[in-house]
Symmetry: C2
Subunit: 136 residues, 2 copies
Amino acid sequence: MRLTSLADYAVVMMAAAARHPAGARLSATVLAQETGVPLPTAQKLTGRLAAAGLLATARGTGGGFRLARRAPEISLADIVEAVEGPIVMTSCVDAERHECALEGACQVRPHMGAVNGAIRGALQGVSLSSLAEVKA
Amino acid sequence: MRLTSLADYAVVMMAAAARHPAGARLSATVLAQETGVPLPTAQKLTGRLAAAGLLATARGTGGGFRLARRAPEISLADIVEAVEGPIVMTSCVDAERHECALEGACQVRPHMGAVNGAIRGALQGVSLSSLAEVKA
DNA sequence: CGCTAATCGGAACGAATCGGTCCTATTGGA
DNA sequence: TCCAATAGGACCGATTCGTTCCGATTAGCG
């Protein structure tokens, strides 16, 4: 019931990126310095965020990346899912995986969908732009 | 962003216990049979749930346990916290632990308290009695 | 046109936590 | 008084997480 420190770092990095001018060229090195995240870890994170479609990357010397969408259109749920995978409380929530021994007999399972939705909704309600702004 | 299978089992077991008559004497063995949870694991869980004050236990031959509170007064958050520990999204949320390198400089941290509260609220809103009832 | 430098991308290693099993201490009943 | 059944605590293997390192790719410069 806590998110991994990788996801934590990813949120911090994305918030830092959102504070830069919209189309500016960013590098993992710069963000690592600004956020304090170890550089190799920052590189790994940029890779996952790019694979999820949250960052647009460019390779090479003048390369780097930038936010693929505007900050208000990126939610906390997007970032967490990019790093940790789908947000599911229990394994029986997503349709394809069936490894619970109880399966159909489980009385609790029907309720989990609603619980899962509530959690996910709470995370989707938080946009990156709100995280980026400095709070008093 | 998913709860451990131990917590998952605990929820299933508590729901099964809630379906029994209020003051009935229960044993880890019986609940293990009803839920399909391996017996040693069920024993481990009863221990943690009892330590958290959710179950009232009695040792000896005629021993066993029962719900310490009425089912409507036990929330999903209670069960999860009993097994997994405090519900905190990031390590910087709870006051005493300060292991984040950024600390005061972190711009994201002030927002985390609200996020954490939203998640916790979603779990507290689900009572054990609602989980116990059979859904169509 | 070739070389160098800087950056992303993927692969391998070590550490920590989780999940499961076994054993011991305690207590009510025969 | 002895026995049996149960909770409680300790140990061990396994999976995942977190970090680090190395290779692939491309723009800038001589």
